[in-house]
Symmetry: C2
Subunit: 426 residues, 2 copies
């Protein structure tokens, strides 16, 4: 054994999930699963290890090399710890395109890794709910995807007033840019990325950057348009009706907190139609909660006919922050319902036997087989939020009658195992 | 976009989980969780990334370098994709030893990685149920751990005749070796490792290797002893009664398929007391299913007083093979209960609205908003094992009365949403 003591810290930028944090994590994952399944989405998964080339074609070399965990294995294969799930789901859908029955509705809760420069609150790994619908071009698929993301929040007990939904469309953006004489493909891309960074830069810098792309006399008008929510422009700019239909579809489904947001860009290159973003409206946590949109040929890299898709991703850290900010976090109790406390080590085995009788009836039971004094055992059980304890000594073993103490209530019940079974509140 | 088409294969040695495989995976994980929780075990987790030094002190440099995924990050930290969970759980218990209330009963279902030389059926990643009990020295903890592993199989519907439990004890092995004049620490280690490999080597080679350690005149007797199951030797060899107590404790709990196995060694260095292994008794799948045991100072590397523990680990691939071999695999249906099939794209939105009404009552519903003909939509739903479909056309929209077709039964029911709700079998 080494003389130097090892550190008990986890690797830099990752988290340990002790039972209390794990219980919250599972509550989040379970609510996500339950919601996705209520919309008929099926769960899939893949390994965190992916061939690095999966990211090289859509992402710049610089991002793959500097912002992902990429290494060379001993078979000289370049392997990446997946930074996002979209390339993986595209790979899987493309791989079974002939066998799958479209529309495909899939969700996953993958573990994702990014090699972030260390900053406060920036983690190198997180988990994300990813929902995707493949094979439906109709705007109702976009509505469904936003409605599913909305329902997730409702199922956590959120009030629609706690968050808002920004909706925009890449096609509409291009039509809008055209109104301001920006039509060159490269300038469209630069302008889109600039708008995407708008909220993260000083207003003056943003305005100055606009000057390079839009006629100075019209910058003010452009700014006013993208900062507004005026839906009437949807009737005059461009010919595609999708954005209008999505917005009115959401309202007809009773989703009142969605609005037109011409300044929403979403940084990802692969979006081609509807884009959306949920954000927290509270002052303490005013930030993006999830983002998604439509991409019309994500599987193109793998060949074959285009398969259209719409999807979104939302992270566990962001979700937990939202729930904490709005006081919605329920911490589930992870301790057993019943604990058997033998008064002496010689009764430990009989305690196991008694535990087994309760367990056979579906009750979660454990035994405190330590050498602690009985008072300490009761105190430990109480601290661990166990509902009930049975102290097991010679008298109980002889009589087959046990006294069950309800710890939160401070009450007691006596009886045989059969009699006590009916009195346990799980 | 790249001209060369990307492969849709996953990285070498890892698995994609399409919905049908994911459903089996979740069934396995859920049964594991449910069983561990019925014994009062709390779930924890940690990142798959661990500092490499966590493995260097207990494992040879060669194993860390050649059998794990270890790489250097840009902050010059050596990081490993965890190959097993035990060092992580030891790190976490040691890290909060002052705050934790012992006994600590924890379980986890981690994703683990090994850099295996590629062979048929050898994967580079798997998932494992890990259960550990810390802070109880008594033999009843060993009995509990074996009973928990046993119950896992029972909860999958296994019959105890399908598998058997080998039990041994490291202390007993040392006492046995002493009887054959093997007392030198190094020779004890070599002999233990040799016995561990016994079933994987030709009988003659094993015997020959024994000749170097045991007096030739007694090799036959030694072989007969370790290959037997004669419990009477427990009364004459050594003074520790743990092994006898564990075996009789298991029988008293009704576990009839456990037996004394003096040739069980378990390769891990950290075991110090009871060791056990479950194996499949079928001819087609005759192999180890899980292994575990007692380790008395796993947290020693991190400093502080010793904390005793007992635990086991079992893999998902092995579990699935066992279930398939014994015809115990239930493939859960992952498709929605109800599917709404609009006859025309113009009814897609109304189909979403109708779906929402059923969803509000807890039913899993989706909409086939493709442009397929209605006959094809019904066929797709049937193929996907959807229970019921509602065809939505102009008549239904006008009347508010829908016909729900039960696909497996071939029956139909007509009515309003309210009327149909009572007739859905989920």
């Amino acid at each position: 054994m080494a003389d130097k003591k090892l550190s008990t810290d986890p690797y830099k930028g990752v988290r340990d999930f002790y039972p209390e944090d794990m219980a919250i994590q599972r509550y989040i994952f379970d609510t996500w699963s339950h919601t996705a399944e209520s919309f008929g989405y099926e769960r899939y998964d893949a390994s965190v290890l992916e061939p690095a080339e999966l990211y090289r074609s859509k992402t710049s070399e610089e991002i793959v090399n500097e912002q992902t965990y990429t290494f060379t294995d001993r078979g000289d294969r370049e392997v990446t710890l997946r930074p996002e799930m979209t390339p993986t789901v595209a790979r899987m859908v493309a791989g079974k395109r002939r066998e799958l029955s479209f529309p495909v509705r899939w969700y996953s809760i993958p573990n994702l890794f990014r090699y972030e420069r260390m900053q406060r609150g920036r983690l190198r790994e997180h988990w994300q709910l990813n929902c995707d619908l493949f094979g439906v071009d109709d705007y109702t698929a976009d509505v469904e995807m936003i409605a599913l993301a909305y329902q997730t929040f409702i199922n956590f007990g959120a009030d629609p007033e706690m968050f808002a939904i920004r909706v925009n469309n890449r096609g509409f953006m291009e039509a809008l840019f055209k109104e301001f004489d920006v039509t060159d493909v490269d300038t469209v891309a630069v302008l889109t990325r600039l708008i995407d960074r708008k909220d993260k830069m000083p207003a003056d810098d943003f305005r100055e950057a606009l000057d390079d792309m839009i006629a100075p006399s019209r910058v003010e008008e452009f700014l006013k348009t993208i900062e507004g929510r005026d839906e009437s422009i949807l009737d005059t700019i461009g010919t595609d009706t999708t954005l209008k239909q999505v917005l009115s579809g959401l309202r007809e489904l009773g989703i009142e907190n969605a609005f037109f947001s011409p300044s929403l860009a979403r940084g990802f290159d692969y979006y081609t139609g509807t884009i959306f973003e949920f954000f927290d409206v509270s002052e303490e946590n005013n930030r993006s909660l999830l983002g998604g949109g439509r991409y019309d040929n994500l599987t193109g890299l793998f060949g074959g006919d285009p398969i259209s898709g719409v999807g979104f991703g939302m992270g566990d850290v962001t979700m937990r922050d939202f729930l904490e900010t709005h006081d919605l976090l329920i911490a589930p109790i992870t301790s057993p319902t019943l604990m058997i406390l033998p008064t002496d080590e010689s009764f430990n085995f009989e305690a196991q036997r008694l535990a087994q009788q309760f367990r056979a009836e579906g009750i979660s039971v454990s035994v405190d087989a330590t050498t602690k004094k009985i008072g300490k055992k009761v105190a430990s059980a109480d601290k661990a939020l166990v509902s009930a304890v049975i102290v097991l000594g010679e008298d109980e073993l002889k009589s087959g009658t046990y006294t069950m103490k309800n710890l939160p209530e401070g009450t007691e019940e006596a009886g045989t195992v059969e009699e006590l079974l009916g009195k346990i509140i799980t």
